[in-house]
């Protein structure tokens, strides 16, 4: 497949995922659509273009590992994991229900493909660092990807982990920061300023790329570049739009943690289809 066709296929996948994510969350009656839509292009490129894994053998010791530190965006992760074959897609419609395989935040004991439980912000990069360190010590070739929200970078523990990963030269670790600019109650820069965010990662001795997190070509290039780097961990600060693809939710903090109503869902699905056709 040539590169353009490949990127087109990724975009098509992400488009279908957006619709499923919104349907899942509305069916569940609660969840986090905004951050799921901002991160889905990144997860799609990561899983369907880049990751070395075997959904049929989730315990393969040499598999690449993904940690979703912004655990509230798990609907985006679940839809990708189901498509990969980690579990039957019928589970997607049980999201957040009592006894479901798919909890409101990622639970490694329940969901195949979830490498570590998250949900409390600011912890995933530490766990990912531990995985990367184990890989180094055991001489295994796997890579570890930690997907962070930008708001959670307000947690001090993120920077403890950033120091640690750089100190140990964990070049098998890539942090992908979903820089959608919003947190639960407003703009990140108004709640607790993060900028210059990329410079912060540089100052912590990380190699940094800043990209458009909805440009499949840019995401693929950035992930490929991160894989070639030796000696330092790699951060990809991906500028994204919270609620991406749904006009009335884009850039609106109110859709951080609220399911779309049935009416809103119908409008959103129509918009997404119309955008895909156009």
């Amino acid at each position: 497949m040539n590169r353009e066709a490949d990127l087109g296929a990724l975009r098509l996948r992400a488009h279908a995922f957006r619709k499923t994510i919104l349907e899942m969350i509305t069916r569940a009656g609660s969840g986090h659509p905004g951050g799921s839509l901002s991160v889905i292009d990144l997860l799609t490129a990561l899983y369907f273009r880049h990751l070395r894994h075997d959904p049929g053998n989730p315990a393969w010791p040499d598999r690449d590992r993904v940690v979703l530190s912004k655990g509230h965006a798990c609907p985006a992760w679940y839809v990708v994991l189901a498509e990969c074959g980690y579990f039957d897609p019928s589970h997607l419609w049980t999201l957040r229900q009592l006894g479901s395989l798919l909890q409101g935040h990622p639970d490694m004991t329940r969901t195949p493909g979830v490498e570590i439980s998250t949900g409390s912000l600011g912890m995933g990069l530490s766990a990912a660092s531990g995985m990367a360190l184990a890989g180094k010590r055991d001489g295994r070739p796997y890579r570890v990807f930690a997907v962070l929200g930008d708001g959670e970078c307000q947690e001090g523990s993120v920077w403890e982990a950033a120091m640690f990963a750089a100190h140990y030269g964990l070049d098998n670790l890539t942090a992908i920061v979903d820089r959608n600019g919003l947190q639960q109650t407003g703009r990140t820069e108004e709640r607790l300023r993060l900028d210059p965010l990329a410079d912060k990662w540089r100052a912590f001795n990380w190699e940094v790329q800043e990209i458009d997190g909805h440009d499949m070509g840019a995401i693929v290039c950035a992930l490929e570049a991160a894989a070639t780097l030796a000696g330092r961990p790699h951060a990809i600060v991906a500028r994204t739009v919270k609620g991406k693809g749904v006009s009335f939710a884009e850039g609106v903090a109110g859709y951080h943690g609220k399911a779309l109503t049935q009416d809103e869902l119908a409008r959103a699905l129509a918009e997404l289809d119309s955008a895909a056709r156009g």
Partner: protein
């Protein structure tokens, strides 16, 4: 009954026993790794770091990250022993322990030195007197408070073999070596150290030595005290405690910790639900520690054999009038 404890024994800090035991268990098991937050000396991990430099991870003064790293290592098959002062782990990283270790049941061992008042002169910010309650409240967590160096070594071996999260609370200061090598620690058992039918003294950690001394004081008065070493706070040996309630009708708990939620709280829960009898608690009563040498601090806070004996007399009076 466990081996007879030796009076007038030599002193050895439980953290020193940890430093030796971790080197031993690591020799047999290559999956074992150790982490510390800039406390390799205080945590007695310098020998481990020397022997296994590739399996020792300095995490700096960043306990939250240390626990997350340990969880990630455990998720990849390692058996991490993560150490700090009890004041900082779990004190500084409780949410990481809860979400990354306890909830998924990962095979992380949290071994904290400097538990309790006997940290001494550093004062209350360094003296964890409530962390056993914190750890006992976590599902999936095993909580161990060894009484002496011999039990500590065995507890470290047991923790390494146990698949799941374990918290081990150790101390800074020298404590009497109570047991000989015939002693057998096992997770979840509260060994009977001394039998008696009048009252039960249930103690953990350094208060076990005080409880044994209290039993000798009571014996002079004709009171026969049973002594249980409740070194596993969770899972609690409910069978031994309920048997003690039935057979002696009065219980005294003794711990270097707040009486709320630690050993005293745990024993009250079990006894109230299973066989209500008088329980008197010796411990710290809703206050923090302060600076001072360990011995005088224990006196000032009532953590002594004399206080345990006085509590036993109170419990006996309640038993007779009930």
């Amino acid at each position: 009954m466990a081996s007879a404890p030796r009076p007038n024994a030599a002193l050895k800090a439980t953290r020193d026993a940890y430093g030796e035991a971790i080197v031993e268990v690591a020799r047999d098991n290559p999956r074992i790794v150790a982490l510390t937050g800039d406390l390799r000396d205080s945590n007695r991990l310098e020998a481990f770091a020397q022997e296994y430099p590739d399996r020792f991870f300095e995490c700096g003064i960043a306990e939250q990250n240390m626990i997350g790293v340990a969880a990630g290592l455990a998720a990849c098959g390692k058996i991490p022993f993560a150490s700090s002062f009890a004041a900082f782990s779990p004190g500084r990283c409780y949410d990481q322990i809860r979400v990354l270790v306890a909830q998924p049941g990962l095979n992380v061992k949290l071994v904290s030195t400097h538990g309790g008042l006997t940290v001494g002169e550093d004062g209350m910010s360094a003296q964890a007197v409530e962390e056993l309650a914190m750890m006992r409240a976590l599902a999936n967590m095993t909580v161990i408070v060894p009484a002496d160096a011999v039990e500590t070594a065995q507890a470290i071996h047991a923790a390494a073999e146990h698949n799941g999260p374990v918290y081990v609370r150790l101390g800074r200061s020298g404590v009497p070596v109570l047991f000989d090598e015939s002693y057998r620690f096992s997770i979840g058992a509260a060994p009977l150290l001394r039998d008696g039918g009048d009252v039960t003294l249930a103690a953990c950690g350094i208060m076990v030595a005080e409880a044994l001394e209290a039993a000798r004081l009571l014996e002079v008065e004709g009171i026969r005290a049973r002594v249980l070493n409740v070194s596993t706070l969770k899972p609690l040996d409910e069978e031994s405690l309920l048997r003690a309630a039935r057979e002696t009708g009065a219980i005294v708990t003794a711990e270097e910790h707040t009486v709320h939620g630690g050993l005293g709280g745990a024993v009250c829960e079990v006894v109230a639900a299973g066989h209500p009898v008088a329980v008197e608690r010796v411990g710290i009563w809703d206050r923090f520690g302060e600076s001072g040498p360990p011995g005088p601090l224990m006196q000032a806070y009532g953590l002594t054999a004399e206080e345990i004996a006085a509590a036993a007399r109170r419990a006996l009076r309640r038993k007779r009038t009930s």
